[in-house]
Structures are given as C-alpha cells and as structure tokens.
C-alpha cells in the first residue's frame, strides 16, 4: 500500500512537471527596461493586455473544445456499442446481428447525410420549423465558432457533436420494430424519418429561429437541455406507431421470447450510463459549471430511477431483477435528459425516482393492457420517460441553476413560473404530433417502396440468416 502511494505521488509529480514546463515556458517575457516616453509605455501595456486577452480566450476555447470532442465521442459510444448491446441482449439469439446492424448502419448513413445536408437543415437558416441549405456540404462550418449556438468552440465541433444525437435518435426506434422488420425497409424508413421528423424537430427546439427554442426566443419556449423532446419523445412515439403498424411478432404474446443475453444488455446499459454524461453534460457546449451541474443531475437521477424500478419490482414480484435495475437506470437517464442543465441535484433525484416508477408501470402494466408489441420497450421507456421528464423540467427548473431566460428571470415552477409547465406541454404535444403524423406517412411510403415486414418463414428462421446471411454465434456443430 505504501509503495503504491509513493508510486502514485511520483507519477502525479511527473505529470505536473509535464504540464508545468510548457506553461512556464509560455510566460510573457519580462518587461523591457524603462521606455523613452509614457505614450510608448501605455501602448506596450495595451498590447500586452490584448495578447493576454487572446491567450485567455484561446485557453477557454481549448478547454471547451476538448470537453466537447470527448462528449461527441461519448455520445457515439452510446449507439455503438451501448445501444447495440443493450438491445442486442434483449432479442432472441437468431436476431442479434440484425439489431446491431441496424444501429451500425445508422452510424454510417446518418453521418454522411448530416455532412451533406442534415446539419444545415437542423441548424442552418432561421425559420420557425426548418433550417436552410447555407451549410450544405458543411460549407462555412469550420474553426470559427457560431455564436448563435456555442461561442467558444469551432462550429465544426458543434456540428460533429450534434451528429451523434442525430445517429442515436432513429436507432432507438429499432427497439420497437425488432425481430420482424426488413433491413431494406429499416434503412429507407429511418433515413426518411431523420430528414422529415428529426431535422425539423431539432431545428424547432435548438435551431436559430426555432418555434420552441427557449434559448433563442422561440414563440413557445420549451426547456429541453439535451433532447427529451427532440430525441426521446420523437423516437418513443414513432416507435409506438411502428409497433402498431407492423403488428405483433409471430407467436407474441403466448410464445416465450426471453432475452438471449442479459449479460450483453448489462454491458450496454452501463455504456449508456457513462456515455450519457457526454449526451447531457456535453449539451452545456462548454467545460463550464453548467456542464458540471448537468453531469450531477444526470447521475443522481439515474441512480434514483434504478432504485425506484427495482423497489417496485421487489414489492410486486418478491425479487429485484437485473433487467429491471438496468431498465430503471435507462428510464432515469431518459427523463433527466430535458432537465439536466436546468435542475439541481435534489430535484434530479425526484425526477429519476418518478421516472423509474412511471416507466415500470408503462412497461409492465400498460403494455399488457393494450397488447401492443413494443418489443424492446422503446415507447415505454423513451416515449413515456421523455414525456414525464419534459413536463417535470417545467416544474423543477430554477434560474439559480441556469438563467436561460435572462439574468434574474424566473425559469420553472420552483421559481414560481408555473406557466412554464404549460409551455413544456406545448412542446411535448408538438413533438408527439410531429412524430405521429410523420411516422405514419413515412411508414406508408416505405411500405410501398420496399415493404416493411419480413415473411412469417423469415421471421421464424431469424433475421440474422435471412436479412444478413450470418449467424451471431457459430458454435462448433
């Protein structure tokens, strides 16, 4: 133990030196000896101040940029392999590759589309519903910051960060269509969905001029820090529509279809928890105290939700399951997403606790009452969790955490500004409506072009073999 401590001390001392040396070397050279006139002296002082100012800005930008690049990487990790494993473990063995492939395909396709036109549609222009084409092919997106969105980081960083959100949102929908949707149909539908549903919603909530943009003076300012409406309500509601349109899996609900590997789901869930720090805390768009605040809110809400779901299960079934615990955690992560940068840690605990219970109820009771086959509970967790989270954001947001409407202006219910809950409701309803209508239309279109559902024989044989010509696990025989 002592040797460990002294080894650590030496290691940190060396690390310190490593950083101290370049810092020391960069100190401004000492002032030259007395200048001839006072005018010259003043100029020299002003020059130095300007220099220092530039250095401070560069240092801040450097800190913010490094955090944002890390956050972007964390959010991508949430899709691959976080979501891929979480969903993958929940499906039957014969469909494992298919569900992973759907997420992976989106990592590729959405990335290309974002670069070509997606970023511009979501964050260009200043219309109320959709952006423009001025940044198509990433024109004008480079090292210079875009002060409308994030004044201290290159716009290119902001763009690549937002891309990771655009990837994971359609990926969430694959949870409802799992085990029975054609790969070709999935590719076409989700591509169209990204263009027609996600891009406008992202613009409305986060884009300049957007109808629901709380930060930039939208008409119905909806507080949505990291995407409760844009990501979770949109994908969750769309998931429900897809599940209803596609119909139930063959054999559902009589035939048992338990998860083939909760081990993989567990790994995926933990990757989601850690990655979500990039999703929520990164939405501060700076390495600031707001990022810290969002980080904390995220973590505490998740912990509370895992506990409340597990407690509900323990009371109902006499045992707390691993699947329940990780599902609860994900529910908490979803619910805190719109609230992360607006609420303090104690309210975050409350939001998480409530979300765990609400989503547990949705997934175990409501789903069986209505009988829809939302295979991996995309609606039950993301749709419901996003909705309750968005509404509770209006309740618990405080200006002391984030004075989003201006210094001293009340934000949410805890500030006495209860009408914000009404605004949240407007945003929630618009997200629901947009997702509902957009999804129905796009499902019909996709059905006409590629078809949506595999045949019954293909479904029984499994999507890995029929859609991809592979088996997930090639055991010896």
């Amino acid at each position: 133990m002592k040797r460990m401590v002294s080894k650590c001390c030496r290691f940190f001392a060396m690390l310190l030196l490593l950083f101290a040396v370049p810092l020391l070397a960069r100190q401004t050279p000492s002032a030259t000896a007395s200048s001839p006139s006072s005018a010259d002296a003043t100029k020299a002082l002003n020059d130095k101040l300007t220099q220092l100012d530039q250095r401070v800005t560069a240092a801040q930008s450097s800190a913010d940029n490094s955090w944002m690049l890390v956050s972007a990487a964390l959010v991508l990790l949430m899709t691959g392999p976080g979501l891929a494993l979480f969903y993958g473990g929940l499906v039957r063995r014969k469909n494992m590759l298919a569900i992973m492939m759907q997420s992976f395909m989106l990592m590729a396709v959405i990335s290309v589309l974002w670069a070509l036109v997606g970023y511009s549609l979501a964050f260009g222009g200043n219309g109320p519903v959709i952006g423009g084409f001025e940044h198509a092919f990433l024109r004008g997106v480079g090292a210079d910051p875009n002060p409308d969105y994030a004044g201290t980081i290159p716009q290119a960083t902001f763009m690549i960060y937002q891309l990771m959100f655009a990837i994971i949102t359609p990926a969430l929908i694959t949870g409802a269509t799992a085990e029975r949707m054609k790969f070709s149909g999935t590719v076409l539908f989700l591509t169209l969905w990204f263009l027609v549903v996600y891009a406008p919603l992202a613009h409305m909530v986060w884009g300049k001029g957007g109808l629901l943009n709380a930060a930039l003076g939208g008409k119905f300012p909806t507080l949505d820090f990291a995407g409760g409406t844009v990501v979770h309500i949109s994908s969750g509601v769309s998931a429900l529509v897809c599940a209803l349109y596609l119909g139930k899996r063959t054999g559902f609900p009589k035939q048992p279809m338990p998860p083939h590997s909760l081990v993989l789901s567990f790994v995926g869930a933990c990757l989601l928890w850690v990655g979500w720090f990039g999703f929520n805390a990164g939405s501060a768009l700076a390495a600031s105290s707001l990022a810290t605040s969002a980080f904390l809110a995220t973590h505490f809400a998740t912990a509370a939700a895992a506990i409340s779901w597990s407690a509900a299960e323990w009371l109902k079934n006499g045992r707390a399951s691993a699947l329940g615990a990780i599902s609860g955690a994900v529910a908490g992560l979803v619910a805190i997403t719109p609230a992360a940068g607006f609420v303090a840690p104690m309210p975050a605990l409350a939001i998480g606790f409530i979300a765990g219970l609400v989503c547990y109820f949705m997934v175990t009771k409501v789903k069986s009452i209505f009988g829809y086959d939302d295979a991996l509970d995309a609606f039950g967790v993301h749709g419901a969790g996003g909705t309750i989270g968005a509404l509770l954001t209006g309740v618990f947001a405080q200006q002391v955490v984030n004075p989003i409407f201006g210094a001293g202006k009340p934000v949410g219910g805890l500030d006495g500004h209860w009408s914000q809950v009404g605004n949240q409701l407007v945003g929630v309803l618009i997200a629901w409506g947009f997702a509902l209508v957009g999804t129905i239309i796009l499902l019909k279109v996709t059905d006409m072009i590629t078809g949506l559902r595999v045949t019954e024989e293909q479904e029984i044989e499994g999507l890995d073999i029929t859609q991809h010509g592979e088996e997930a696990y090639n055991l010896e025989l």
Binding site: P258, N317, S321, L323, G324, V363, T364, K365, K367, S368
Partner: protein, 112 residues
Amino acid sequence: MMKLEAIIQPSRFESVKDALREAGIEGMTVTEVRGHGRQKGHTEVYRGREYTVDLLPKIKLEMVLPDKLVTTVVDTILKTAKTGKIGDGKIFLSRVDEAIRIRNDERGENAL
C-alpha cells in the same frame, strides 16, 4: 451387451464420473439435456412478462457395457447420483445387438 442410459442431476455428475472411473469403467458419452419427470420448474419474469420454465437441465450418461459389468455400474450410479429428492433422475437398460470398434473392426464385447 447392454446399453445403459442414466439421466441424473448436473450437481451429481462429477461424483458419478469419479466413482465410475474408480470402478474401472472407461467409456461413456455425456450430453447436457433438458427435461422433467414429476419435478416442477420455476418462473422467470422479464419486464413484467412471466415465463414458466419447466424443462430443467440434466446430464445424460450413455454407456454400452458387457453383461457382467451392468450390476456394478447400476449400483455405483444409484449410490452416487441419489440425493433423495424429486428430480434425481432414472436409469434405463436395453439390449444392444452389435458393437464395432471403428479403428480396427473389432466386434462384440471386445469392442467395448
């Protein structure tokens, strides 16, 4: 020659295997199987969905024995595989018409 099939509890398998080796039995085929007799299964719950799992894991031993060894083997298995609870399993015996060693074409009890 007799074929002996024994379905036993997985937890007893190691003891049975060791006891058989000590009794001089050198050949056996082991498979992991699922099944039940009168033993009840258990319930699993995944996100509110309940599944009754009534196919329980067991170990199946298969051996072809010369007639003179049958009683020894049966007694050994009975002694080491028994726990006294429902689910201990069963032993089945049947006649074998022929046995052939693939390596050198030996037949009959010499092939065992």
